[in-house]
């Protein structure tokens, strides 16, 4: 056995010799190419007046349908495999005067979209606007603008321009869905000061939406989707000190009562942030809204108006409370509680699947229609739900990331779950595999959806500028 003195000597010698060795090893790990001196003339940032981001995407979706389901589906419920392809472009041209021209669009062809409620061929003009910013912080935009408000991740009550804007349903990830949605034709004026900003938005009614849910425009200006009513938004952001910059909103849509809203986000120690987002205003019951829209567009017979609950619009609050947490191992997690006072209670879900709404017997197809309407117009049907999203980057190998998300309906205990693996092949190519499933009893929000599971494989290649 080694003596104590020997061990001590060995430890001391090891400590002494390890210091310069460690330093030397550090420097030796630097690749020779990383030490190549720069040629500033050729390697500085290239200044461009035009930015173009474009990519092509090809993929294949496998859908496993659910049978039988309590809520009848309006479309095919067979298992199926669909191929799809898309071209996506965003371009911005700037001038020396501070003016910018921006256009963004996406064209796609598919043998059959995931839920078969969308057109197989699409050419969507997402955004097209002119903007200018001056030295005093005055910003204006005119044209089709994708304006999004809110600090939450899974659902944004203050995102007042979200209705009928989603044009891609290959994913349920709200982060991805926001990237492909349509903007709204509007005039957007904003003044950004040193301690806050004020913004006024006017979005006029261009044309009334007279087309049914399955006939929404899939090409061209598609103004009936995004500008079917007059809307006005006033928004303030104000700094009240370090890390305290709440935003306040006032929104009015023609034919509806005004809404007010607010949001705030703050740090919670070193690893977390918390946030809250809230709106309030008098609202129509979601089934009533669907019936009224269906009767107006011809999706439902006029006689269906008898199914209206007869209830007045009532004050309803929407609230999202959430937080994000991250650690040093590339893992970040968001957890949110969503409350929608206008959503369906546990008994209302049960009644709906028993073909009863507000005490009246209704056709089973109305249940399906109300749900499709809520999906298209992005009105949450659930009263209480919990949303979580976890993202783990560079997991296992560099460039591989995992995103898992779930949306749990607290009242009927059904769940939407999605898992995505994304691998970055290089700076311009990536591949993605996504699995989504809807779990729950047959008479539940997600358990009744016609898609039981879906698996998507996608390849994306960015084009050089």
């Amino acid at each position: 056995m080694m003596s104590k003195a020997k061990r001590t000597l060995l430890v001391v010698m090891s400590t002494i010799t390890s210091i310069p060795l460690a330093a030397q090893e550090d420097a030796d790990r630097i690749p020779a190419d990383a030490l190549r001196l720069s040629n500033e003339a050729t390697e500085a940032v290239t200044v461009r007046s035009t930015d173009i981001t474009a990519y092509v995407e090809v993929g294949i979706d496998t859908v496993m349908a659910r049978a039988p389901a309590r809520a009848p589906a309006s479309h095919s419920r067979n298992d199926r495999v669909n191929a799809r392809s898309a071209f996506d472009i965003r371009a911005q041209q700037r001038t020396d005067s501070g003016m910018s021209f921006y256009i963004s669009g996406r064209g796609s062809v598919t043998a059959g979209p995931l839920d078969e409620s969308m057109s197989t061929k699409r050419l969507d003009l997402r955004e097209a606007f002119v903007s200018q910013v001056d030295g005093n912080g005055l910003v204006w935009k005119v044209g089709r603008v994708n304006l999004r408000n809110g600090v939450a991740l899974g659902y944004n009550p203050t995102d007042f321009f979200r209705a009928n804007t989603v044009v891609d349903n290959t994913t349920r990830d709200p982060v991805s869905l926001r990237e492909s949605r349509l903007g709204t034709y509007m005039l957007d004026l904003q003044r950004i000061g040193e301690s806050g900003s004020v913004q006024a938005v006017v979005a006029p009614r261009v044309v009334t939406n007279t087309k049914g849910l399955d006939d929404q425009p899939s090409a061209g200006l598609a103004a009936s989707r995004t500008n079917a009513s007059n809307r006005f938004l006033l928004r303030f952001v104000r700094d009240f000190g370090v890390d305290l910059s709440p935003e306040f909103l006032l929104f009015k849509e023609s034919g509806r009562d005004p809404k007010i809203g607010a949001s705030i986000t703050r740090a919670l120690g070193q690893q977390a942030t918390w946030y809250a987002e809230w709106t309030a205003g008098k609202r129509e019951r979601p089934i009533d809204a669907a019936v009224r829209f269906g009767a107006a567009t011809g999706d439902l017979p006029q006689s269906s108006l008898r199914l209206l609950s007869g209830e007045d619009r009532r004050m309803a609050h929407e609230l999202v409370l959430g937080g994000s947490w991250a650690n040093a191992s590339n893992l970040s997690v968001n957890l949110e509680f969503h409350f929608n006072q206008n959503g369906l209670s546990r008994n209302e879900w049960k009644d709906m699947f028993d073909s009863r709404v507000a005490g009246q017997l209704v056709p089973a197809s109305l249940v399906r229609y109300a749900r499709d309407y809520a999906s298209v117009f992005q009105e949450p049907l659930a009263r209480r739900s919990v949303f979580t999203r976890a993202q783990w980057e560079d997991i296992w190998v560099r460039g591989l990331s995992v995103v898992a998300l779930g949306n749990f309906n607290v009242d009927d205990r059904s769940t939407l779950f999605q898992l995505s693996l994304d691998y970055r092949l290089d700076a311009s190519q990536r591949i993605r595999a996504t699995w989504q499933t809807n779990v729950g009893r047959g008479a539940s929000q997600y358990g009744s959806l016609p898609i039981r599971q879906a698996i998507s494989l996608t390849y994306v290649a960015y084009l050089p500028q």
Partner: protein
């Protein structure tokens, strides 16, 4: 946190850290050395700089990104407030980051969303650069010890240095401790080793390619060894330093989509 955020943070941290030639300090306490070095490090004027990040995997260049960074001292805190806008690669163009005090916002032009980032998320990523915000190290760290040591710099040249042991002194410090080597003759930063709260070594940074920028000799390259993935080395290269009076309103999160690309 996505790669663009991490790269941007990495860029901004080192855009500030690299401007850190230390003053002569014989007879000074370690804290005085650190304070003096902070004074020299901070140019004292707002500026913008072009930054190129190159990631090497297993010794080979793998990915590259370029961005424009705007920095300005906050007179009330003595710390830099930073803005960065991606120029390349194509998929990241237009993404922008705001770092002010202890909070950060990240803007993605694709989703039109500005997302709040926690202080810990500054530690996530290739080079785990949580010190990005703390260019004024004497504010967030105390120097407990200064020793003389001869080490090799990034190019293998031996340098006689002061080795400072920096320990976090307040909640704004995102590293538990930092080992920092400063060349005695020129007071250039040579190397830094950065440790997480757990005591784990996160990264090693080497400063090199000193040249005259913004009225001072400053390193124009930082080479970062990732200790979480030892196959990865990131090189940050800074060019086109320019005095630039960053307007205060640019530090509002609503301004992120409007940041210029040059």
């Amino acid at each position: 946190m996505s790669d663009p955020i991490r790269r941007t943070i990495l860029c901004m941290v080192y855009a500030l850290l690299l401007t850190a030639p230390f003053s002569s300090s014989r007879g000074q306490t370690p804290d005085e050395v650190l304070t003096q070095s902070d004074k020299v490090r901070n140019p004292g004027v707002p500026f913008k700089v072009h930054t190129e990040l190159t990631e090497f995997r297993s010794g080979k260049s793998h990915e590259q990104a370029k961005m424009v960074t705007f920095s300005k001292l906050d007179p009330s805190t003595g710390q830099y407030r930073n803005l960065a806008r991606y120029v390349e690669p194509t998929r990241d163009a237009g993404k922008a980051l705001l770092m002010k005090d202890s909070f950060m916002w990240f803007y993605d032009p694709a989703s039109k969303a500005s997302v709040r980032i926690s202080p810990q998320q500054r530690l996530i990523g290739k080079a785990s650069n949580g010190d990005v915000m703390s260019t004024n190290l004497s504010r967030d760290y105390s120097a407990k010890q200064a020793t003389e040591e001869t080490i090799k710099d990034a190019d293998g040249v031996e340098r006689e240095t002061w080795k400072l042991q920096l320990e976090a002194s307040n909640s704004a410090a995102v590293y538990l401790r930092i080992e920092y080597w400063i060349e005695k003759k020129t007071y250039h930063p040579v190397k830094g080793r950065f440790f997480a709260d757990s005591g784990r070594l996160l990264k090693i940074a080497f400063y090199r390619a000193f040249s005259r920028q913004l009225d001072g000799m400053r390193p124009t390259e930082v080479v970062i060894l990732d200790e979480l993935d030892r196959n990865v080395v990131t090189r940050m290269r800074f060019s086109n330093y320019e005095f630039f009076d960053v307007p205060e309103r640019w530090y509002q999160r609503d301004y992120l989509p409007l940041l210029p690309a040059q």
